[in-house]
Each structure stands twice: as structure tokens, then as C-alpha cells.
Symmetry: C2
Subunit: 251 residues, 2 copies
């Protein structure tokens, strides 16, 4: 049994707590939160403290709090034993300033508290200072997810950038599409199946091969016609991304 | 029974033929293709001709061929009866130059021949010159899809632009994400669940509200750090879309 203490009570902590609670080879010995705000999202049977001096002994301490608070918070963990990990995609391992060994456990998914999530499907990027800790963290991660990736801090920084494109920027393309629908008095609903299918396709197909549309065909008549109907940043974005798609097919 | 003739043998025609074949209130009287290339994708029981002078009588003739060929092809349809529709998102209704009444039946989905598709889930944008034809085309469309939208040529042109953002441009964001993964020696697989979840979210949530990430938080430290690690068009795209997201949240 791997003994786990969870520190934090935000979206990431809520779903992690559920996953840890379900895993048979994990011993969820304690959770920490300085307030009671999110208590109703957690199993009441889990021992809770709001005092860092009363933390129980564990193999792994997981800090699931805001990125900006990780460094200062970790300084308060004065014990020497066990492995302390944070859950941030954008913070390097050495953000942690505790005495114990350090690591990262980064679940790559967007969380909201009330959502039902299949934790086993979430990719987890892990990193440790020491090989021995990698074995421990890998065993822990395997208990709650089927997709574990060992990724160092420098790779994780690039992964975060890639995730901004794959998640935030694709979502902004949906947002612009919705704006165009509404300006022209038809429902965004008509685009929803296409959005799902586009995301589905690249689960098995290389995105470059899955591409279709006027830029893929370098159909300048359609492209220029579209651009002439757009204004402001929509126009700029259409031009820039079309150029980028055209470059892709030329390479 | 609505009698249907299908003209063309590309991706759109293949899936349309399957859907028409399954529908109980449709009579699939004939299909036309000038060659035999794609014959194995079609039910052999459907009567086929490669001669436009031998077209059978029908209520609806569906032209499912390349956008650029629609105008010239439609001139060859010299009969006066029935409704002739094309299936293009980017061509106005009056692209058709046949003698019979004209319309548009635009299935909004990306098709590849070997894919299994639930046609009932595909949104269909329809348009006709005359009310009477709208009733006919609507009845036909309802036999194979649950999502029918009456949309005029001017709206359909905007819909096509919106679809370029929602489909082609979001797919290009996946492509850039994959490039970043591969340049840094980790697998694009790690991003796939996030891509699906992002597309899933906007099925029920407004994309502007679903947005997360550094630009949504206007976190200039992270944004500038990311931009400093990118080059060329990736850098330009990151900057432009981040600016656009920041504008969105300020409005």
C-alpha cells in the first residue's frame, strides 16, 4: 500500500481525491485544506487537517494548489521523508522548496468540480529527481490512470505550450465560429457535430493528413472571398492560419 | 415515397447513398457516375447509369460532385421536372444552371469513404427557390437526418466560413501541437484526451465560457515565456490568438 497525503481543495484535488479513494493499493491517509469551502466535494471519511504541523506520515505528498502558491507553500513542509510532488504543467520541478525529495504529477486535463471524469483515461506526466522515486510515483500513477508519461521539466514546459494550441486555441476557433453564426442569425448547434468529428479524427489520424478545406486545397478564390467578408482580428487570424496550412502542404 | 436520383461518386455521394438506401420512405431509383472507380463503395442493387440521357424520372436529383464542376454539369440536365440540388457549402443556389427547380442540400460534416457515419446526427442545411420545394426537400432530409436547418445562400456562405474556423483551423492547432510534441521527443498521444474533452465541452457550454489557459487569465508572464520559446509562424499565431482571447475577456 502506498500512503498518500493530498494538500489542496481545488478542481484538481477534488478529482484526484476521488481517484485515490477508489484505488485498492493506495492508502489515502489524510488530506489538508486550510478552509472548509470545498469540504462537500470530498469523502467525509478521509481524515482532514488544516494544520501543516499535524500532517501524517506518507510515501507521497501531493500539492494540488495554484501555480503561484506552490513555492511558498512547499517551504512550509519541513519534514525530510517521503516524496513531495506538485501537479502543475507550467512549473518546473525545482519550484518545490521542501526538504523531502521532489517530483511532479501533472494530470493533463481540464477539470471542473461537478464534472464526472474517467481518471483512468487522463494522461499523467510524471517527473522525479531520483530513479527510486520514479518507481514509486509511477506505481502510484498506474493505480489511478492508464496513461503515464515520464517527462522532464523542459519537455513539460513544451507540453504546456502544445496544450495551449490543442485546447485553448482550438476552443477560441470555436468561439469565433459561434460569433459568425450569431452575427448571421443561425445556430452554433449546426457546427457541433463537425467540431466533435474533427477532434475524433485526430485520435487515430495525423492532423496534417486529416486536414480539409480551402487552405488545404490552396483554393485562393475561396480564401480571398472569405477574407473579404471578415474584418479585424477574424480577418487577420483567417489569413495567418490559412498561410500556415498552405505552407504545411507545400513542405 | 420520394424518388431520388444521385449524381456523383465521391465521399459525399458514398455516404449519402448509404443513408438513402436505408430510409424506408425513399425510393432510390438510380445513381449516375461517368466511371466505375468507386463502384465497390455502392450497393450493387442500385440501378446505375453513366449516360445523362438515360436518367430516370425522380422527385429529387442530387448533384454530389466537386464545387468547380457543378455549374457546367448542371447545364447538361435538360429536363424540366423535379428538383435539382447540389451538396456544396460554398456554392450559392444559382450556381445550378439546369431547367428544373433548384435547391441546396448541404450536409455539414467531413467525410472519408471508409468511415462509418451516423447520418442521422449530421446537420443538413437546405435551401430552395420555392416554398413547395422546401416542403419536399425537408421531407427528404428528415428521412435521413435529425438536424435540418433552412439556411439561405448568404447565410450558408457565412456558415462555410464559420466551419473553416471550427474544423480546418482547430485541426491546424492540433497539427502545431503535434509538431511541438515531436520536436521535443514526446508523444502527441498525451494531448488526445484533452482535444476530445475540449470539443466535448462546447457541445453544452458556450466556448467563451469554456475557455481556460494563460490568455484567458491574461497571464503575461506565461504568455511571454511561451512566445520566447516559439519561432516563425508558431510565434505569430500564438501572439495573435492570445491577443484575440484577451480582447474577448475584456469585452
Amino acid at each position: 500500500m502506498i500512503k498518500v497525503v493530498l494538500l489542496g481543495a481545488g478542481n484538481v484535488a477534488v478529482h484526484l481525491a476521488k481517484a485515490i479513494g477508489k484505488a485498492k493499493n493506495l492508502d489515502f491517509v489524510q488530506r489538508y485544506s486550510r478552509n472548509t469551502k470545498s469540504d462537500n466535494y470530498f469523502d467525509t471519511l478521509i481524515s482532514k487537517t488544516n494544520n501543516l504541523n499535524q500532517l501524517k506520515e506518507a510515501d507521497i505528498y501531493i500539492i494540488a494548489i495554484n501555480d503561484d502558491s506552490i513555492a511558498d507553500f512547499s517551504k512550509k513542509l519541513t519534514f525530510n521523508n517521503g516524496l513531495v510532488v506538485h501537479t502543475s504543467g507550467s512549473m518546473p520541478l525545482n519550484t518545490l522548496q521542501c526538504k523531502a525529495n521532489k517530483g511532479v504529477f501533472y494530470p493533463l486535463q481540464t477539470f471542473s468540480k461537478d464534472q464526472t471524469i474517467d481518471y483512468y483515461a487522463i494522461p499523467i506526466a510524471i517527473e522525479t529527481e531520483y530513479k527510486k522515486d520514479a518507481v514509486l510515483l509511477n506505481n502510484f500513477a498506474k493505480s489511478i490512470s492508464n496513461n503515464i508519461y515520464e517527462i522532464n521539466s523542459s519537455q513539460r514546459e513544451k507540453l504546456h505550450i502544445a496544450a495551449v494550441f490543442a485546447n485553448n486555441f482550438s476552443n477560441h476557433m470555436y468561439k469565433i465560429a459561434k460569433d459568425i453564426c450569431e452575427t448571421n442569425n443561425f445556430s452554433f448547434d449546426i457546427l457541433k457535430p463537425l467540431i466533435l468529428e474533427t477532434a475524433n479524427k485526430v485520435q487515430t489520424l495525423n492532423p496534417a493528413k486529416a486536414q480539409t478545406g480551402p487552405a488545404k486545397r490552396n483554393d485562393q478564390e475561396v480564401i480571398q472571398n472569405h477574407i473579404s467578408q471578415l474584418a479585424g482580428e477574424q480577418k487577420e487570424i483567417y489569413q495567418l492560419i490559412s498561410d500556415s496550412i498552405i505552407k504545411t502542404i507545400k513542405n
